[in-house]
């Protein structure tokens, strides 16, 4: 297996929407801690995970924190690469203009490379 084009960046895949479960929050925590430990961290929003980026989110009615403030902190942790699966956006009737942060769009043919090239991969 040729690893010449592998990166040592950590890939955190976020596949769950905000509020309905803690997967998104706990996945983001892994990304932030990885970055705090000096690792290069790339985030991939896939499936319902793309809902994490939608504009206009608020905290829950009981004060549940939500994840949108955490997204604004990513740059402070040097997490600059926010990858978004184009197909997941399209399936949900979303476009880049609906998102609260600038992102890099990923096409279907790029997706397998992302998984193959990062070590390690955390899939939340």
């Amino acid at each position: 297996m040729n690893n010449a084009d592998s990166t040592t960046a950590l890939l955190v895949v976020l596949r769950h929407a905000p509020h309905g479960s803690s997967w998104l929050r706990e996945g983001l925590d892994v990304a932030l801690v990885g970055a705090a430990f000096g690792q290069t961290v790339d985030l991939l929003f896939l499936g319902d995970g793309v809902q994490a980026l939608i504009k206009g989110q608020q905290q829950g009615p009981l004060g549940q924190k939500g994840t949108h403030p955490t997204l604004d902190m990513l740059a402070m942790y040097d997490i600059e690469t926010l990858l978004v699966d184009v197909e997941s956006l399209a399936q949900r009737g979303l476009t880049e203009a609906d998102l609260q942060l600038p992102v890099t769009l990923i096409t279907a043919s790029q997706l397998p490379h992302l998984f193959a090239q990062h070590t390690p991969v955390f899939n939340f």
Binding site: M1, L46, G47, P112, F115, T119, N123
Partner: protein, 96 residues
Amino acid sequence: MQLHLLNRSVASSHVYRDALRAMSDDDYLLLIEDGVYGAVAPLVEHFSSIAGRLFALREDLESRGLEGRCAESVIVVDTEGFVQLTEETERTVSWF
């Protein structure tokens, strides 16, 4: 080369679609837990694009009464075989 694990039935969850889209041409997919419901016809047709690279965990088939109903195209492994697959591949990615 990676081993992907899927523990959801294709009849109830679409996560298998994202798993298939994330797989490289030489990656393996192992069905475990409720994932093994996808090893039976006609549901197994959802995995036609990865013929020869689709595995199912024997213990999870047996406990669900599916061992005799598993499609012939699926390679059945026991947990020792599962460990072997993790030896042969560089990394494991879990889909749930």
